[in-house]
């Protein structure tokens, strides 16, 4: 870590990690949202408009990417969480941003719970020909999409309130 700090300021290093975390999370939410739209779409829905094309994707194509992106985003989040705890959270407590802190607490719990759902989510999509697994595919995708959106928005708000460069 000392080597890194020789070539850039400490806040720059953590900001870069945060941006990588953010970019992975946006890729994740994009994939999850397409997939969630596809499971909500009526099986015989047609059309050529934006909504039809947005939801008209093969959900199984996204499953491995979503699983990998969730894990990678989680790991980067866990890494920068160490710095958040001392550099971001303590000043936010001193400035009494309680709702922001509470929202971040919710985000970290949902990210962990989502992690526990990934093996079944991935396997259910890998066996996309098995119609009996359709409810699992649908609901796990919707739950992960909901958790992912909450995590993304909360992370964005927390970074607006106090980023690593503050």
């Amino acid at each position: 870590m000392e080597l890194v700090h020789l070539v850039m300021a400490e806040t720059t290093f953590w900001t870069i990690l945060l941006m990588i975390h953010g970019l992975f999370s946006m890729a994740l939410i994009g994939a999850l949202t397409h997939q969630a739209a596809s499971v909500l779409r009526a099986p015989k829905a047609g059309g050529d408009g934006f909504a039809a094309r947005f939801s008209g994707v093969k959900g199984e194509v996204y499953a491995s990417a979503v699983t990998g992106l969730w894990v990678v985003t989680f790991l980067f989040g866990a890494w920068i969480y160490v710095k958040y705890r001392t550099y971001i959270r303590i000043p936010l407590e001193q400035e009494e941003f309680w709702k922001t802190l509470g929202a971040f607490e919710l985000k970290e719990q949902l990210a962990s719970i989502g992690l526990g759902l990934l093996p079944l989510y991935w396997l259910a999509w890998r066996r996309s020909n098995d119609k009996s697994l359709q409810p699992l595919r649908k609901w796990l995708t919707l739950v992960l999409a909901l958790f992912g959106w909450i995590a993304l928005l909360v992370g964005h708000v927390v970074n607006n309130v106090r980023g690593f460069g503050s």
């Binding site: 705890r85 309680w98 719990q109 759902l117 991935w122 009996s132 796990l140």
Partner: protein, 118 residues
Amino acid sequence: MSAEVSAKPDRALAFALTFAIAAPVIYVICEMKNWPVFTYHPGTGRLDWGWAAAVKDEGPAMYWFGWNLSMLIGGVVIAGLATLAPGLAWRLPLSFTWLFPLACIPLYLYALKFFWLR
């Protein structure tokens, strides 16, 4: 909603299904009861087994990593046991895999009321 996929229960699905039900429950219990496998002190980089209080003048203590490890270990053990009898795992309602995680949102909104009501 339940046991619709019992035509050919296999070990991989039994593992994944049981893990998806057990892991979130274990995580929430460990978080609510404060049972991390280890505590990390980011100010000093020290690790303690189990729960440890923050040390004065050494910064905060972090438990989230320990709760996650608790979830992974507990989930793997329970899901591993489920692979011994895959047919039993399929008696679990599939809806548990999404209903409990969804229920965690209002559960945590209530549990975190300290933050909302200040």
